[in-house]
Symmetry: C2
Subunit: 157 residues, 2 copies
DNA sequence: GGTGAAACATTAGACTC
DNA sequence: GAGTCTAATGTTTCACC
């Protein structure tokens, strides 16, 4: 991916509703050239989608936590992500190296709701949990700082 | 916040570029009524912004990790988030309860880049680090599942 | 708050270089 | 790939409930 695509991605990561007109001005391309590139980036999966960033306090989910999970039976097949997917409080699921197998990021209304969620996680996926409560969020969702150049592989001539 | 606003927030959290026309159809309101509500939600900070969701593999930052940090001198003033803000590899910073004081979510190009970043984190904020490498991401950025009703406080008549 | 309609801006696609 | 052109859509504002 080259310079201009990278610039487009950076701009959209920061403002997902930026118009093609503005993107064109920022990149020095014509509107339709930008339009074409954005569609291509979407099709290739570089841009996976667009989201509004929501204030979780305002929608009644003020409590964020990280829940690390470990299977109670390490020899059982590990399909925890599938088994947990129906729990809408889980915003993200990361498979990790280390003592535990996954880290979940969850958003709930209250400590009581967290307790209830933890029980549903343990029951759904046959796992033990270790929970780290988030006290405040200095920042989140910062756009990727893309380096000016990345040559992951040289093209053999 | 009531029913229709909640629906608008849910729809935009899932597709940040949905048009007002589509939002109007989904909510049963007129286009201008929806427009007004979205502007109000933005102004009140319920919608904090819009972002394109990027495939980090595609932009050359395939390695994600969680870095827990702890001050080397617990009596020093804690301004780690400010001191680390210039490091663009840090996507998010959470203040947490527990043994460590913050969890950082970082995205880098390679193990070598991670090693380098950890050194810069330690040097910038006078902290020790504990790093958990992410192996894969079953899911991430799922939209908040908003309950049909939330009455955080009853209105005294 | 809500509506409908007019003025304006953006987007999508066909076509050319 | 990028540019221009144009028809179709989408956005914004405003006067009126």
């Amino acid at each position: 991916m080259e310079e201009i695509d990278r610039r487009i991605v950076t701009l959209l990561a920061d403002d997902g509703r930026m118009s093609f007109t503005d993107l064109a001005r920022e990149t020095g391309l014509s509107v339709s050239a930008v339009h074409q590139r954005v569609r291509r980036l979407e099709k290739r999966g570089v841009i996976r989608g667009y989201a509004a960033l929501i204030d979780h306090d305002a929608i009644g989910l003020p409590l964020t936590a990280f829940v690390s999970i470990k299977p109670t039976d390490p020899s059982a097949p590990d399909d925890a992500p599938d088994r947990l997917a129906h729990l809408t409080e889980i915003e993200a699921c990361y498979s990790v190296a280390g003592d535990e197998s996954y880290i979940l990021k969850v958003r709930v209304a209250s400590p009581a709701a967290l307790e209830d969620l933890l029980q549903r996680i343990r029951a759904s996926a046959a796992v033990s949990t270790r929970t780290t409560v988030v006290l405040s969020i200095p920042y989140e969702h910062r756009p990727p700082g893309l380096a000016p150049e990345e040559k992951p592989e040289a093209e053999p001539a």
